[in-house]
Amino acid sequence: MRVKAQYSMTFNLEKCIGCNTCTVACKNVWTNREGAEYMWWNNVETKPGIGYPKRWEDQELWKGGWVRQGKTLRLRYGSRPYMMLNLFFNPHMPEMADYYGKDVYTFTYDDLHTPRKGNQQPVARPKSMVTEEEDIPLTWGVNWEDNAGGAHVTGKYDVNFRGMSKEEHEAYLKFRDVFYFYLPRICNHCINPACVAACPSGAAYKREEDGIVLIDQQRCRNWRYCISSCPYKKPYYNWCTGKMEKCILCYPRVEAGLPPVCFHSCVGRIRSFGVVLYDMDRVQEAALADDHDLVRAQRSIILDPFDEEVIRQAKANGISDEWIDAAQRSPVYKLFKKWELALPLHPEFRTLPMLFYIPPLSPVITSMGQRSPDETDIFDMAKTRSVLPDIDELDKLRIPLKYLANLFAAGNEEEVKKSLRRQLAVRHYERSLRVDGKPNLEVLEKVGLTEEDARGITRALSLSFYHERFVIPTTRREAADLSPYTERGTAGFIPLSPWAPIKRRKSYYKAHHDPQKEYE
């Protein structure tokens, strides 16, 4: 057992209202620069739909992620020689058309402020932010399919309907059986990141200490294999700097114990952030599991932070007491591992993503037609039944289980069922407390939860405060390469002796660090 600590996340889709406050917060902090206009490190998609960039989930098209080859994994993109052959013409790479159709746009706002003679009211016209071409048509964008806009067509290309008949697939794209929900997406900061594996320059890396996946802006040579190989299409090419960029998990904030801005700004409080410990020795085994077993395998490498042996080994591997404490209080550990409510996005890409989604419950089907009215009026108070669907009535939920299973469990419906049944059971339990005045323990027993679990889930999913949702240990100062003490005054300019700060640093490091090292 080799213990590693990793920042990880959960998004509760049950509560996401698709407001994109996260998206705009991220945009305003990180990507409203030249070259980054089309980058959305955080975006929220409406499912069903094909998302941003178009059809990112379809790996037949994009060749992202990993595939099994015998007893090992290889990048779906192809072998190393194949990659090298394509170095100057990478055929599996999204282009502007896949992000923004014609071009990423702004508007000619100046027209509103600059008076011009004419009879007609002025308007700001759409304009490309890259070429500055004006009056361009707008045909795609980061949130194009918001609230299922156009999804009756794009939904046909949504791979999550896989395994359904054509008739069934088409029925879900009509008003009678319509369903939709939101899928907020950031970089998954995978344990087995394909972007890192694919980078020919060694610029993409996963941080040892906390698992954040970054691209070194000095080493990046914009071969762009990260964007080809990332199955989530989360690295972006900056046309202005000629470097790849991606979500940095707001590491300057996280290092100081603050959640990333997309987490902080979430109005629905759907997001949790915490540390999990995992067993490095078993990563390959988990990434090689059979499709239906992928979720279970990924859960199995997450270690119990209360286990004496795990704690001993974590310490031996250099994980501090503070980080172990944070792992014990981690909301992500509870939601993903302990209660098994949260699921990874497309585990079949085999990158072991570390952002987990709690699949949404949905309204029950009430449409008339083939199904009898008697069967559908579940909210008829005159009937003695509960106002909640039964935990075994998941087939009555509007969002088909198969769809959620294709999205979050590589098609394994049992994993989704477990989560949804538990979510429903906790509702039944809470309702029994409030309405009947006595706890319904039977329903908890059916889904394998204790009362303590049920109360914990209620708290975690609907009542938890900021410090419960975000349990973030700060960066270990002693592991940092720079000492703030020696950095004093280095930002200032000393006209008569410009080298003084460097000299001081040199002398400090000579005295306090490696005697062989002349400069830090």
Binding site: C19, Q120, P126, L138, N147, V153, F175
Partner: protein, 574 residues
């Protein structure tokens, strides 16, 4: 005056609505996008109210012959009634675009102010993070400057006080509520009753206006502070003025009166004369209310009686309001000593304060004669208005391959009415400009595909936008989330060119609407059906209209749509 009214020598302005002396002449818009957001019947208003370019399509007035008691000319309705539109604005929105004078206003982060909402219990202070740029002024400064100049000019034009007649409607939370027992509609004009003010007729007041004092009245408190309050709660503010405000370190005392000429002084004054932040005042109001409802209530604020929240304190950390009779929520539990979150009506439910209805309880049946006759007595389904029958939609003028839709304009997800939407990152949410949501089968019928340009039109006007076709939209429905401005990504309309409109641009989401007064909101003098600002009064229904929609004919040449005036020759007139 009553005699003159009875004899018909005096009359209300509404009865002679076309007379120029009855038009609104000067309008100052502050903190609102009146032209871009609030104007139901936007194009009609552009034509008749502002007198500017528009794309109204009426060729005759459909109400001709239907109006009985109002003098009007259906052939020649007045055009351009307004003389001057002044706008204090933080941005170049539609109102600023159409205004005669724009006064640049300080943004939220450039001024002292105080705001409060009714969903939670915290008061928001605003403080300048930077000074307002260029000539921008805090609203308070702008009004002060206008008032100062006005007072100065008044010395020449109105050197002495002038008398004015003010009519006040039958008022909420006053004895007027019992004005019309049994809710019977009786018209004094037809001699059914006597025009008794406060019963069947508005109150008549003669007020004296000293225009030379407008500035001083704006920036000082009083003189009528012995009857202070609103919503039926009144108290004598003099003890607070004498014992607290005149000792307040922030406020100024001049000529025996409290002055607050600087914005931060005004904010402090608001804190001190609000029962929400001044415990003594809340206690006084509760004491008054106890007399009315005959129940002990002042104990609710006994623990906060000496609490005063100052503006400076608001700036230093968030502060909550305490319980007041102005809000129906109990915010403090005297037994546990804990604060409670905002939950409406707890005062009525827990302390049995009667609701402001005739029965004192929540009502779902309204027995007023007019409400019953209009079928609104109980909350039941009413079908939408037939916009074809009432003339807004003319099927004989419909373009080929058009279809009638029900038209609603719910709140949008990406904006607060028209605010915060036009900036480019926000325009990347959804589709980047005005859109209408349609069902796929409806779209097929008019040969529209997702993201095609369409024209929404009826006699009231034309809107040009793109279609978002989605299977989540029910059939027959056209949904435009409000509020879209008329000036971002709005091209020219071929239909407007064909019909020879003076404005060839598509309008906003109110282009196809008009003000439809809901007659049952005209009821007054009967319990809770009494006028109060923003509570009860005649209101328009703007969310239940109808439109025709067609696919917009493409421009000639390479362009799909035409935005620029110099390319108007490429716009087809069909």
């Amino acid at each position: 005056m009553l005699q003159q009214f009875k004899e018909g020598r005096l009359n209300f302005a509404i009865h002679n609505i076309d007379a120029p002396e009855n038009h609104l002449k000067v309008l100052t818009v502050w903190r609102g996008n009146l032209i871009g957001t609030s104007m139901r019947g936007h194009e009609l208003a552009l034509k008749h109210f502002l007198g500017t370019h528009h794309n109204v399509l009426y060729d005759h007035e459909p109400a001709r012959g239907l109006v009985k008691e109002i003098n009007w000319d259906p052939e020649e309705c007045p055009i351009g009634k307004l003389d001057l539109l002044v706008n204090l604005n933080i941005r170049m929105d539609s109102t600023a675009n159409y205004a005669d004078v724009v006064l640049p206003a300080a943004f939220w982060y450039e001024k002292y102010d105080i705001t409060f909402g009714d969903m939670h219990t915290f008061v928001h202070p605003l403080q300048p993070a930077t000074d307002p740029p260029w000539e921008c002024k805090h609203d308070w400064e702008a009004f002060k400057l206008i008032a100062k100049k006005f007072s100065e000019l008044a010395k020449r034009h109105f050197p002495k006080p002038v008398k004015d007649i003010v009519l006040k409607p039958l008022w909420m939370d006053s004895p007027d509520q019992l004005g019309q027992p049994l809710g019977e509609v009786k018209d004094w004009k037809k001699g059914e009753v006597e025009p008794i003010p406060g019963k069947y007729f508005p109150h008549i007041f003669i007020v004296e206006r000293d225009y030379t004092q407008v500035y001083d009245r704006l920036v000082s408190l009083g003189p009528r502070i012995d009857h202070y309050g609103s919503k039926g709660h009144y108290a004598d503010l003099r003890p607070i003025v004498e014992e607290e405000l005149k000792q307040n370190e922030v406020l100024t005392v001049k000529n025996g009166r409290v002055y607050f000429e600087r914005a931060e002084q005004f904010c402090e004054l608001i804190c001190q004369v609000s029962p929400e932040l001044n415990g003594r005042l809340a206690h006084m109001f509760f004491k008054e209310m106890e007399k009315k409802v005959g129940l002990p209530l002042a104990d609710l604020v006994e623990p906060v009686k000496s609490r005063r929240v100052h503006y400076k304190e608001l700036a230093s950390q968030p502060r909550r309001i305490h319980t007041t009779p102005m809000w129906g929520a109990i915010l403090f539990d005297p037994e546990t000593g804990k604060q409670r979150p905002f939950a409406p009506w707890t005062l009525n439910v827990e302390r049995l304060k009667p609701w402001h209805t005739l029965t004192g309880r929540i009502e779902i049946y309204f027995d007023h004669q007019a409400i019953r006759e209009l079928g609104e007595a109980i909350p039941t389904y009413k079908p939408p208005l037939d916009m074809v029958a009432i003339g807004d939609i003319r099927l004989d003028k419909a373009e080929p391959k058009s279809k009638v839709f029900r038209f609603i304009t719910p709140h949008g997800k990406w904006q607060i009415h028209s605010s915060f939407r036009d900036h480019w990152p926000m325009m990347h949410m959804s589709r980047g400009g005005p859109t209408v949501w349609l069902n796929p089968e409806d779209a097929d019928e008019i040969e529209v595909k997702d993201n095609d340009w369409v024209e929404l039109y009826c006699e009231n006007g034309i809107q040009v936008c793109r279609a978002v076709v989605s299977h989540q939209v029910p059939r027959g429905m056209a949904i435009v989330y409000h509020q879209v401005e008329r000036h971002v990504n709005v091209p020219f309309s071929p239909l407007a060119k064909k019909r020879g409109c003076t404005d060839l641009r598509g309008g906003n989401n109110n282009a196809t609407t008009r003000i439809l007064m809901n007659p049952h909101t005209m009821v007054g003098g009967y319990g809770n059906f009494c006028y109060d600002i923003n509570y009860w009064g005649t209101s328009p229904s703007e969310r239940d209209h109808g439109v025709l929609i067609r696919k917009m004919p493409p421009a000639s040449g390479k362009k799909e749509v035409i935005y620029r005036e110099e390319e108007l020759h490429l716009l087809p007139a069909r």
